[in-house]
């Protein structure tokens, strides 16, 4: 019937079981959003960041069922504090962010562990092993351990949904925020997930004053720290029996695996046809009783987890007490500490432990003939035009600190010399100037990034007299993560009109001396503005404003495309500009169907060979 006509009995039983329930094929993040609804969450706040953004996007699209308050916050710290406020007012609340966003929110995160919650408070922090779309691959389980906050680490979308509901119960039971930590392969996985009913949200809520638990004065913080440490044992006890820590004792070789690594390991055990003992871990603090039982049962155990040896270190410590003779394998020589695990890595590590044959990781057959296809700025992206003008005015010796957004992809244009963290372009630029650099310094960051983490840096640059130019690449959206609105757009997460913050007024209020706004599609004006900024003897700000081309296309604001005429001399200046709409064929440039009609290439063509297609 099928090329691989195979259907196991197990699959048929699963089919029969699942037939009885409503199931949907959901993205992991949509499953988490569903879990929030089923937990009766009253407020969700977050800042977009891959791979976490679709949690809030799913919620805002659910018009009828949407929680009473869903917001894109200005940054992750703000999001967590807004969520904490709602929790203290008696509403279940969640804050969403990516792993590096938790660094921004670390300040409230650490102290909220002391102060506790009102109604349940859940911090959803999506990790990105392999840096698919991130600047690092830090392991947030370490943060949870550091703060003394319980962490739920789902293996798949269905578990993520169930954990989202459980997290609120755990939070309320132990008066502590709870972290839900999906990884990219959970947040951006899809799976058939069972759907339940959305829960009621309760009636009127009030903030109840209680300085001893809400005011982190030293006199309050000291006993709260003792309390936090004391409750760890009780949390661990409660999580021992949580359905996500599963122990199955079989043979005398064991696997202890966390999150998605457990799925790889279980699949490998089936493929290798081995009767291994298994402990799958999905909840932290770690279940020491279950680990001890495993260690008493086996003579050899492999710990399989992505990134940091969080589980392995505790297994090592417990083994000293429980069974010092057990052989523990893991990060040393078997499981990498960096990058993302995959099935073959895990399968081969297990096979090696068992002395079985490893399966070769196949290489691509003809990799040498493959043209690279890196992600790049869109055809007609205004960032390209801004960077072109910036480079033209400031020259190749100037220093160009940049930031986090689509524009980081312009690294090949020579205008992205740094990318560290959100908003760091301005502060690095200041430091580079104060450090003694005498060349021109022109940094750049997007509108959303500026509002997220750039404003304090601009204030600092003004206050401390940094002679730099700050370019705000204002495409009036948060483009890289999927076009979320921000305070500069005049629209909230749920599409309501709100105050539209003026970036010009902000820049002036923060102390910038020269503030100019340009349309980067108008190349001559942009060049002149950059020249004035370069010559300015203080802190200058250029706001390069042009809506994101993807958004403009969606709202049907199309322009007429451009074409290359006979005058083309094949000088390739337009090709070097790097727009994907310009190709080179038979010694002449050609404009393809991707052209959005921005017209910048026409302005840079020395032969005036590029013109608008006549109607």
């Amino acid at each position: 019937m099928y090329p691989n006509g195979y259907q196991s009995e197990e699959a048929i039983i699963l089919i029969l079981k699942r037939w009885l329930f409503v199931r949907e094929y959901l993205l992991g993040n949509a499953a988490i959003a569903r879990g929030l609804l089923e937990a009766g969450v009253g407020l969700v706040a977050g800042y977009p960041g891959t791979p976490s953004s679709e949690i809030i996007e799913t919620l805002v699209n659910l018009k009828g069922e949407r929680p009473p308050h869903v917001e894109w916050s200005v940054n992750e710290k703000v999001a967590l504090e807004v969520a904490a406020g709602a929790s203290w007012t008696g509403r279940r609340a969640a804050a969403t962010m990516k792993h590096v966003g938790l660094n921004v929110a670390a300040d409230p995160f650490m102290t909220l562990a002391y102060l506790g919650v009102g109604a349940g408070l859940v911090v959803i922090c999506a990790d990105d092993p392999y840096c698919h779309s991130s600047q690092n691959e830090q392991d947030s389980r370490r943060y949870a351990q550091f703060a003394g906050i319980p962490c739920l680490d789902p293996k798949n979308p269905e578990e993520a949904k169930e954990m989202a509901v459980f997290a609120f119960e755990l939070s309320e039971k132990f008066n502590i925020p709870v972290m839900l930590r999906p990884t990219t392969r959970v947040s951006h996985a899809r799976e058939d997930v069972e759907i339940g009913a959305a829960a009621a949200r309760g009636g009127q809520c009030r903030f109840i004053k209680n300085p001893a638990r809400r005011v982190a004065l030293p006199i309050h913080a000291r006993p709260l720290h003792s309390e936090l440490l004391a409750k760890q044992a009780a949390i661990e006890e409660a999580l021992e029996s949580a359905p996500w820590n599963r122990l199955a004792l079989h043979g005398n070789v064991g696997i202890i695996a966390s999150g998605i690594a457990g799925l790889y390991a279980e699949e490998a055990a089936l493929e290798l046809d081995e009767d291994l003992s298994f402990l799958c871990i999905g909840a932290y603090p770690l279940p020491t009783k279950l680990i001890s039982r495993m260690l008493e049962h086996v003579s050899r155990v492999m710990v399989i987890e992505e990134l940091e040896p969080v589980v392995e270190e505790q297994v090592q410590m417990l083994a000293r007490k429980v069974n010092p003779n057990v052989e523990i394998l893991g990060k040393a020589g078997f499981i990498p500490r960096d990058g993302e695990l995959d099935y073959l890595q895990v399968r081969n590590a297990i096979a090696r432990m068992l002395g079985k044959a490893e399966r070769e990781t196949l290489q691509n057959p003809a990799v040498s003939i493959l043209p690279p296809r890196p992600p790049s700025l869109c055809a007609g992206c205004s960032h390209r035009a801004t960077y072109y003008a910036m480079r033209k005015v400031f020259g190749k010796n100037a220093i160009y600190p940049s930031d986090i957004g689509c524009y980081t992809m312009a690294v090949g244009m020579g205008t992205v010399d740094t990318c560290l963290c959100m908003g760091s372009s301005i502060t690095l630029a200041s430091g580079i100037r104060f450090g003694g650099e005498n060349e021109g310094i022109c940094c750049s960051l997007g509108d959303s990034t500026f509002l997220h983490g750039g404003m304090t840096g601009l204030l600092n640059a003004a206050y401390n007299k940094a002679r730099i130019t700050v370019t705000i690449l204002d495409n009036s959206t948060t483009a890289m993560t999927g076009h979320q609105p921000n305070p500069g757009t005049g629209m909230t997460a749920t599409g309501e009109a709100t105050v539209q913050v003026s970036i010009e007024a902000l820049a002036k209020a923060l102390g910038a001396g020269l503030v100019e706004t340009v349309d980067p599609y108008h190349l001559d004006d942009t060049l002149e503005s950059f020249q004035r900024a370069k010559d300015y003897p203080g802190l200058s700000v250029i706001i390069a404003r042009q809506p994101c081309v993807i958004k403009a296309r969606r709202s049907n604001a199309r322009s007429k495309p451009f074409q290359v005429g006979e005058e083309c001399k094949g000088c390739k200046i337009c090709i070097d500009f790097g727009c994907p709409a310009i190709e080179f064929e038979n010694d002449k440039a050609r404009i393809n169907a991707l052209c959005s009609g921005c017209g910048v290439c026409a302005a840079i063509c020395p032969a005036s060979a590029i013109s608008e297609v006549a109607k």
Binding site: Y6, H188, R190, L344, R347, T361, A366, I369, P371, D576
Partner: protein, 195 residues
Amino acid sequence: MRTSVCDLVIVGVGGQGVIMISDVIGRAAVMAGIPVCGAETHGMAQRGGSVINHTRIGCRFSPMVASGGADVLLALEPVEALRFAHFLSPKGVVLVNTRPVLPSTVTCGQAEYPPLQDILAPLKARCNKVIAMDAIALAERAGTAQAMNVVMLGALAGYIPLSEELILQSLSLVVPQRFLEANKKAFALGKAEVE
């Protein structure tokens, strides 16, 4: 021992509709009551970059297809088929749209786009069968070049353990009503191409 009934790898370029194909298959599997999971690329990869989706039908393990494990490699773009050929099982099948999308490295002259036969030959050497078709031409025949991915879905339909009826039912949930007829036509043309 097999750990999944059918493993698919669907590849292409951002904007070609890779995720839509996996969504249709996933929903159809749910309707059939078969466990299904998948993994996709978001973020950086979408700005004109390569896109890969894993879909596992009848599988309760991880959503990732192992290297050397794909029963079908469905490619919406020829170079992308080759880029992800290491996922193919030696018994696997490749369904590939022959219409290239030139990467920026080619349009600006840093790299060359290989001729079609140089792409298909190494694919043929490492799997059971390669079926190549101009899915854009077929989609245009159905009424819109946009339905190229649905042409490829039609070609795929006979290779996955889901009935055509369910796939079409699922398609009608995903595609806006006004484009449904053209998409159904595209599906039928793709299906006819492999028969």
